[in-house]
């Protein structure tokens, strides 16, 4: 344990994706220092109220909680630009259910910076009431940023959509946490939404994306932990 804390103790570590430095953040966001850009994925705002419409009354605080986590990350990095990498809203009607408080919290975060909504399968259109610009994908420093990872991508890619989660077992206890999945060519980001579940990295969906292997960067309580692929367990 002393090895872990002395040798590689750090708050955040940068990795290179092509010529772009990326810094996975404990909040689940990805910080691009050279671009002063903060990327977040799969916020799934108003997922709780989407369930409520079907008679499952999940606590109506998920958007509040998600936006608070987002605000904390924005406050910490003070980015010039925020990119929400798709499935920012749980469904197309989310903007009709979201509270005024949440909208104004969102608007406040957008003040003084560029805000880009990348569309996802849950939110192919974004209501103009939510501010910001909308796009299907964007390229930064030769890296493609899109919602759904593309197997055919021959270059570099940052994506969301899959909600990666990793499971390890140590000292007889299994632990499952959201994580970044990283390879030299691709970064799949964890979901940031309070009610967004996770898909185990050992699921076949990740296979074609990481044929050359991957490392899991699990979200701990105080920092990220880089876990070797061989330690990852299926669910």
């Amino acid at each position: 344990m002393t090895v872990a804390t002395n040798a590689v103790s750090r708050m955040s570590e940068a990795f290179m994706l092509g010529r772009l430095a990326i810094v996975p953040d404990l909040s689940g966001a990805l910080w691009l220092p050279d671009e002063s850009t903060l990327v977040v994925a799969d916020l799934h705002l108003e997922k709780g109220s989407a369930y409520a419409a079907r008679g499952v009354f999940l606590p109506p605080y998920d958007s509040t909680a998600t936006l608070a986590a987002l605000a904390a990350a924005v406050l910490r990095h003070a980015p010039a630009r925020v990119i929400a990498l798709g499935d920012s809203f749980h469904d197309r009607q989310a903007h009709t259910r979201i509270s005024l408080e949440s909208v104004s919290a969102l608007r406040q975060l957008q003040t003084g910076r560029d805000w880009l909504w990348v569309t996802g399968n849950h939110d192919p259109q974004i209501s103009t009431e939510m501010g910001g610009e909308t796009t299907a994908m964007i390229s930064i420093a030769g890296i493609a940023l899109r919602h759904e990872p593309d197997e055919q991508e021959t270059g570099f890619e940052i994506a969301g959509h899959l909600h990666p989660a990793a499971k390890v077992r140590m000292r007889g206890r299994a632990l499952r946490r959201r994580c970044f999945a990283l390879s030299p060519r691709r970064c799949v980001m964890p979901a940031m939404g309070a009610y967004a579940g996770g898909l185990n990295l050992r699921d076949r969906a990740f296979r074609p994306l990481f044929r050359e292997g991957l490392s899991a960067h699990m979200l701990g309580d105080s920092r990220l932990f880089r876990i070797d692929e061989r330690l990852l367990l299926p669910d």
Binding site: A4, L58, Y61, R171, A194, G197, D228
Partner: protein, 833 residues
Amino acid sequence: MTAPTAVPNAVLPPAFEAWFASRGWNARPHQLALLEEARAGRSTLLVAPTGAGKTLAGFLPSLVELTEPGREREGLHTLYVSPLKALAVDIARNLEMPVAEMGLAIKIETRTGDTPAAKRARQIARPPDILLTTPEQLALLVSHRDAKPFFAGLRRIVLDELHALVTSKRGDLLSLDLARLRGLAPNLSAVGLSATVREPADLQRFLGGAETPAGLVTVTGGASARIGILQTASRLPLAGHTTGHAMGEIYNAIRAHKLTLVFVNTRMQAEFAFQALWNINDDNLPIALHHGSLDAGQRRKVEAAMAAGRLKAVVCTATLDLGIDWGDVDLVVNIGAPKGASRLMQRIGRSNHRMDEPSKALLVPSNRFELLECRAALDAVAEAAQDTADARTGGLDVLAQHVLGVACSDGFDADALYEEVCTASPYAGLPRADFDAVVNFVATGGYALRSYERFAKLRQDKIGHWRASNAQVIQQYRMNVGTIVESTMLKVRLGRARAGKPGQPSMITRGGRVLGEVEEYFAETMTPGDTFIFAGEVLRFEGITENEAICSRAAPGTDPKIPSYNGGRFPLSTFLAARVRTILASPREWASLPDEVSSWLHAQKRKSRLPKPGELLVETFPRGGRFYLVAYPFEGRLAHQTLGMLLTRRLERSRMRPLGFVCNDYGIAVWGLGDMSAAISRSALSLDDLFAQDMLGDDLEEWLAESALMKRTFRSCAIIGGLIERRFPGQEKSGRQVTISTDLVYDVLRRHEPDHVLLKAARADAATGLLDIQRLGQMLTRISGHIVHQPLDHVSPLGVSVMLEIGREAVYGEAADEILAEAEAMLIEEAMA
């Protein structure tokens, strides 16, 4: 009223007299007493030992009434509710016999989850005279839109095995439905059938209503049981739960009897005992296995073989605890600790199902602590002392389910329903505010942020009655009724894994036979390659696919690595715990113990000390570069586990650097890198502070935030309360990531609305359930100011028995980062090497 001796006035109709006479019987006094009570329209609790003819006593009044001349058919007359589907079916069969022999025109039917839809619909339209069912089916009937006409003529409800029903949330639900029935059926009287309990008055209130308790008929006597503790010729182990040392002796006992029931406390023990017995089964005796995780078809086969007298022994868990009459059992063997005196008596009652012959039982302790517990249980049985659980306070989650059910039938006026609910004894003290919070929860989620009004499941009509707002709500209710929340189960299927490249998921081929089911959390503790015993064979775990655990048969001769001893659902009763403490403190009593046990206690006295009954002994000592603290609260494994979690937090704060702990029903051992003996002697660590009651304040709250056990408790409340829907087989195929995780809901709710009614329900459960906080609290009060510390150079004789649990079921603190850091370090160590 107790044990009526004179034959009461109620004369049996001639057909019944003749039937009794034809069998050479007389109606028993308690059977006639129940007849008289029923004629007077009074509810009655019948407490009687096994074999007293309880069931017939319960039904006799109905049979007599139903055949009275001039009676017109007026729908359902008698409802019978049993905790087990199999029991309802069994009783229906037993009842058919006298009815057929007397030629009575009485229609008897069962209604369970297996009853076909057409028959269920017909049962509503044209009900039988007597309907036998389960609490869940009763809840569905009570919430039926035709509940009012269906129950209007109901005269009697018979609740079987009431002592078993009232101890769980199923009892809460039943009490609420009973309250409802009292309103729907003005001429209803209730009959409860129960084994001997500590507080019959609790059951009388449950039956008749909180303010109008039922009468009591007690049958005493019955031959006393002949119970012995196995005097093993081999050495009684210091720890462990397999009882492997005594299998030869158990086998010989089986051989010497006609039919033996071998009771164990957990599925693991059942599997182990079954395999161990077959390993030495030179005579090829028909010995079968029966536990709840086996495939249902397999279980039915065993039950049928038993009833037909084709078996010599059955190794079984609590699934056979209840009063099904399986055949001519002449010996009950109880492996491991009995855990409670009343439980032991009920198990022993399985043998010799006739009251006038003594039951015969053999207790087989697995280790020395368990021997003390057996000794204490034996004394308790001799005095007929009972230690059944206290009456429950009704769960708010169950109430939520009931409120939705009532809204689905005919709607309700909130004031009237509140009054009705308060007549159910578990809810007698329900504050109106809690009731209103529950109604709000059902209607719109009950959140302070009232954002779901437009999706409301309940709405008030013009006269202010609450009703289900649409048909989908009713459908949702009917799919989710019941209070049994199984842990998610995975089918155990035979299959093989083809090894993939390192880091690549291996390919698992399926297609083999399904052997049964295991809990998901159990499967999650295993890694591919682990071996375990299941369905009597050693299996190799290959992996999990969707909702199945794929396993292959292990090579012959493979030693099973039992990954976890599941300590069982029942913690040691407080009553037996107190007795064990008394035995420990009274060397005079040791003479009656086996030599090795009394010399073990003498050695403890010599090398360390023995606590007086009111004291808590804490030993500290170094061992192998680490420092240990062992305490002996005797409060059961669940309370000890919670204690361990909280102690490690406190020791962490005192810089004792704790690394882990283990516990069993009797004691707890914590170890770490800090020298606790030294810290105590220089007053840097105070045991009084360490075990202070304020542990249950902030420390508990902090731990609950992340406790997996608390999350499991919350999940079960969320399902029972109807916040989220049950998962049904087949629904998982769309992928687990789409099911909303109650852990996420728990985190959000706890942070944003800590006073929410569902968290309140979960906290109430945690107090008595998996975390047993209530008992821990009582213990901390009891030992406050009575802690005796004994620093030692090495482990004490008693301590060994606790320490030997290490490696078997070590529990570590739940700090996630520690675990992740260790996983991360594994990679780094490799890189540095």
